[in-house]
């Protein structure tokens, strides 16, 4: 960030039918010396007005005819002029030097008063010239923040004749409402860090209301959860223990189901085996019985054959005993002998055939008996297997399947139970959480003081450094000092301690000069520390009240301090600007080095006053 500072180039007031009044300033020290009623304070007051004060400078007979004022300033080698009508709350920015600026030509109009959030204000325009715009500063102990405005730092730039002798710290304007903010501002100038990062702390009233609301909500949630928990488990609150037991039971039930299913599978395999072998036996029985049918039929054939043979044989025998006859065809005699021999052969053949039949029948009987035995065996095997199958079926349907389905049902119920107990455990955890939060709320409510963040907490090292700068300044002014300069950060004081003495408790003259040392020291400190600062201070009569330690005895010490004061400021080549309004004139040698205006109140010597004589 480029550190820009403002140099005031002069001030002018105008009005109709009146010659304008003006005074020029230069970088470094400017002194306007003159007695009362010469318009010194009017100059400072007009300057303050041009920097955004809401009220115009106090009316006096000489100023009455002026209607507007101009303040010339230079930032980064560029000239601007601020103009403002005494009756209006707007300010104009002219991009030209004081001498050329005319309010009637104003193009750039801004609100003279700060408006939160608006950039179209004089305050924002000026602060943004020097890199101070948009700084967020705590305005109370709860870290609620405001953005920095020009008016907030006016008391560090312009110290009026009344304020310079005030017992209030130079860091504060005296307005108690904005005092916390002013402490934040001073802290900002010391550290260069604003409070944007601070977390807002709620106010006790808001906090109590929030705690109450939260408690009400929590209590109703708690009640709902308690009701739900009661419905689930009644008074039994050992949900974790129950959950463990249920898990064990589930494991047992699962392994029982598994074992039963294995058993069922094995039995079913066995049943299939038996059934298959039974089918084989049945096939065999069927075959055997079919065969038997055929064999029996064959036996009947054999029987019939045998009977027929017997009948043929009988017929053959009878035929033989009949007397010989004629042939039925030719009527000749039949051949008895040949017939006889063939009958004998026939008888032998028949006997042989009968024998064969008897053999076959016997063999057949054996075969049938074998088959019948086989049939009986098959029958028995079938009956046995059927018995086994029935037994297996019984085992399956009466024992294993019910056992399996009982275990299934048991497991389902266990799982259901587990669900509800787990829900109960969750509810208990939630209830514990709610109760814990309620206890916290109770504790929070009992806690007397909520944590706050006092504004203007200064970095100790930074404050010490600032005190050093003030001390150097006071030493340069040959200020009679015993001990060191320090800063009392107690919010009640928030001021310098010089030697062992609180600045506020010193005499009027000391307060004035140390006030000057404070604001000048702060400007010098900011320059050294590279912290933004407008770069000018306006001090109304910082030396006049000073009478020194041997007040009334000798004026020498006084003069020595006053000379040193002017000498120090006149020789300050930093570029910072000091505008001093004094009753008495600075030393002659100094006058030549500085911007010097003497309002003599004398028509013959120098300038009479700020206003031209009419």
């Amino acid at each position: 960030m480029t550190m820009q500072r403002i140099t005031l180039t002069g001030i002018r007031v105008e009005g109709p039918h009146t010659p304008p009044a003006s005074v020029d300033f230069r970088p470094g020290l400017n002194v306007i010396a003159g007695s009362s009623d010469t318009g010194k304070t009017y100059v400072a007051s007009t300057l303050d007005f041009l920097l955004g004060r809401s009220t115009p400078p106090p009316d006096n007979p000489q100023s009455r005819s002026y209607t507007c004022a101009y303040l010339g300033l230079r930032v980064a080698s560029q000239d601007f002029t601020i103009s403002r009508d005494f009756r209006e709350n707007v300010a104009n920015i002219h991009n030209e030097p004081l001498a050329q600026a005319a309010i009637i030509n104003a193009r750039h109009q801004l609100s003279a008063a700060h408006r939160a959030g608006s950039t179209e204000t004089l305050s924002h325009w000026l602060l943004s010239q020097i890199g101070l715009e948009g700084r967020m500063l705590s305005r109370n102990q709860y870290a609620e923040k405001s953005s920095l405005t020009l008016r907030n730092i006016a008391h560090l730039l312009y110290v009026s004749e009344e304020n310079i002798i005030s017992r209030i710290s130079p860091a504060l304007s005296g307005d108690t409402i904005i005092e916390p903010l002013e402490r934040s501002i001073f802290s900002f100038f010391l550290t260069g860090i604003d409070d944007a990062a601070l977390t807002v702390i709620e106010k006790p009233k808001d906090r109590l209301a929030r705690l109450n609301t939260e408690e009400t909500v929590l209590r109703s949630m708690l009640e709902a959860k308690e009701t739900a928990l009661n419905k689930l488990v009644g008074d039994d609150r050992d949900s974790m223990g129950r959950l463990q037991k249920i898990d064990t039971s589930i494991q047992e039930a699962s392994s029982l189901i598994f074992a039963t299913r294995e058993e069922i599978t094995a039995l079913e395999a066995k049943r299939n085996e038996h059934w298959e072998s039974m089918q084989k036996e049945k096939s065999k029985r069927l075959f055997v019985s079919e065969q038997l049918k055929r064999l029996r039929l064959l036996g009947k054939f054999y029987e019939t054959d045998q009977k027929r043979l017997e009948a043929v044989f009988e017929a053959g025998k009878a035929f033989e005993e009949l007397p010989g006859g004629n042939c039925a065809v030719c009527g000749g005699k039949t051949d008895e002998d040949s017939s006889l021999s063939s009958v004998a052969e026939f008888k032998t053949a028949c006997t042989r055939e009968l024998q064969k039949l008897a053999d076959l029948t016997k063999e057949l009987q054996t075969a049938i008996s074998d088959m019948e035995a086989e049939e009986k065996d098959a029958e028995k095997a079938i009956v046995d297997t059927e018995g086994l199958l029935k037994q297996i079926e019984l085992e399956l349907t009466e024992k294993l399947k019910p056992q399996s389905s009982r275990a299934d049902t048991g497991l389902t119920e266990l799982i259901k139970l587990k669900g509800s107990v787990a829900r109960a455990a969750d509810l208990q955890t939630e209830i514990e959480g709610l109760n814990l939060r309620l206890t916290e709320i109770e504790d929070a409510r009992k806690a007397k003081k909520p944590k706050t963040n006092p504004t203007g907490s200064l970095g100790t090292a930074k404050a010490a450094r600032f005190c050093e700068v003030v001390q150097e300044t006071l030493r340069a002014w040959k200020y009679p000092m015993k001990g060191h300069v320090s800063f009392d950060a107690d919010p009640q004081k928030f001021d310098l301690v010089i030697g062992d003495q609180d600045r506020g408790s010193m005499g009027k003259g000391y307060r004035a000069i140390t006030h000057a040392a404070f604001v000048i020291g702060l400007m010098r400190y900011c320059r050294q520390e590279n912290i933004p600062h407008p770069g000018f201070v306006v001090l109304d009569t910082p030396l006049n009240p000073f009478k020194g330690p041997d007040e009334g005895v000798s004026g020498k010490v006084n003069d020595e301090i006053k000379d040193a004061f002017y000498e120090d400021l006149a020789r300050d080549a930093s570029g910072d600007q000091f505008l001093i309004l004094e009753n008495t004139e600075p030393p002659i040698n100094i006058q030549k080095m500085i911007g010097y205006h003497h309002f003599s109140k004398n028509n013959d010597a120098g300038r009479y006053g700020f206003f031209p004589i009419r």
């Binding site: 069927l286 075959f287 053949a349 042989r352 063999e363």
Partner: protein, 84 residues
């Protein structure tokens, strides 16, 4: 058939035997119906297979192979479930 000498019958100590007659060959050769043709095929096969068997040998053969014939009925009960 006997009267037309297609078959001849012989009575002996072996029992009643039937033999091919004078006209048997010509008669059989004259049959052309499909059934008769395949019957001739089978007869030839039987002759080829068993011509040299004695009666006792034939009986033994039959006895030995009798039980094998049941194999085709295995699992018949599956097919005839409804009837068992």
């Amino acid at each position: 058939m006997m009267s037309k000498s297609i078959i001849e019958c012989e009575f002996s100590t072996h029992g009643i035997m039937y033999l091919a007659g004078e006209w048997s060959l010509e008669f059989i050769n004259g049959l052309e119906a499909e059934y008769a043709q395949s019957l001739k095929e089978r007869a030839k096969w039987v002759v080829a297979q068993f011509a040299l068997y004695s009666d006792t040998e034939l009986s033994d053969f039959m006895r030995r192979n009798w039980s094998n014939w049941g194999a085709e009925f295995e699992f018949e009960s599956f097919l005839r479930k409804g009837e068992i």
